[in-house]
């Protein structure tokens, strides 16, 4: 793991990996959405709105995966002091927030024709909205901590602690439809079992794989951006001192 603590080595890997993740990610996700939209049959209860599944579910999964990435990176930062862990956590926050927002918007659009309402304050929707607010808080806190660290401050580990504390919301989102009454359906896919017919399941899984590859590519791109910003600022400081 510490082999990639060297930014030059990490950047060599990231330059190679980024197109390897991005191109198949775009092909798989857009292909799966087209497949599901054009060829999956209407559901006997939800009608053609079932096709919103192919965009809504991957967005929701990646919204939660984004915070899981932040939490795991925070552990790595706090326990092993890996220099790239904080950068990985910061890089995952924006795509995580975007996917969470897209999950909320597409879910709301799906709710109107199936539930008769755009929004209900039930456990699932509310805990997922809280996740979006947690992302906003994390992004602001991590930016402030990075500025503080650049100025020689010691606030660098505060976002990692916030990332770990916020992770408590992930199992709450996951179990919310089991613990509380909700208009939202219970989990359709659990470990090793699916209540979804293969006609819907395959485009959904392939789309989720594609979205995950895109998420990985965006995290790598944002890590490269953050590293470049840090290197630029360090260089400018050295030039100012000379």
């Amino acid at each position: 793991m510490h082999g990639f603590a060297n930014p030059a080595r990490f950047l060599r890997l990231a330059r190679w990996l980024l197109p390897v993740l991005l191109v198949p990610g775009l092909v798989l996700s857009l292909g799966a959405i087209a497949w599901g939209t054009l060829y999956a049959p209407p559901d006997h209860l939800m009608g053609v709105t079932v096709k919103i599944l192919f965009i809504h579910v991957p967005c929701v999964w990646l919204g939660m995966a984004g915070w899981t990435t932040i939490a795991v990176s925070s552990v790595v930062e706090l326990v092993w002091r890996h220099p790239l862990a904080a950068i990985a956590a910061r890089a995952a926050a924006v795509p995580g927030a975007v996917f969470t927002a897209l999950g909320l918007i597409t879910g709301s659009i799906w709710g109107r024709p199936t539930w008769g309402t755009w929004w209900v304050w039930d456990g699932r929707l509310t805990s997922f909205l809280i996740l979006l607010f947690l992302y906003f808080g994390y992004i602001a806190l991590a930016d402030a901590a990075a500025r503080d660290a650049a100025g020689g401050g010691s606030a660098g580990r505060i976002p990692a602690i916030f990332g770990l504390v916020g992770a408590i919301n992930i199992p709450i989102i996951n179990r919310s439809v089991v613990w509380w009454n909700s208009l939202h359906q219970p989990p359709s896919i659990t470990m090793g079992r699916s209540a979804i017919d293969g006609t819907y399941l395959w485009p959904l899984l392939i789309g989720a794989l594609g979205f995950s590859l895109i998420f990985g590519a965006v995290v790598l791109a944002r890590m490269r951006m953050l590293l470049a910003q840090i290197q630029t600022e360090a260089r400018l400081r050295r030039m100012a001192m000379d």
């Binding site: 919103i52 809504h56 924006v94 597409t106 659009i109 024709p113 791109a221 470049a228 630029t232 260089r235």
Partner: protein
């Protein structure tokens, strides 16, 4: 009162927002990365 909604309008709206939102995020991240790396390389050459 029975409301008649065109379900396809909701499907296209959700797909358009999801796909366009995702693509905007991808392009924005790539452009921001390239700008930051170009600026770093420019500063290194000084």
């Amino acid at each position: 009162m029975h409301e008649r909604l065109n379900q396809w309008e909701f499907v296209w709206a959700a797909l358009a927002i999801g796909v366009i939102g995702m693509l905007v995020m991808v392009v924005w991240s790539m452009v921001a990365m390239m700008r930051a790396e170009r600026r770093r390389d420019k500063v290194r050459r000084k």
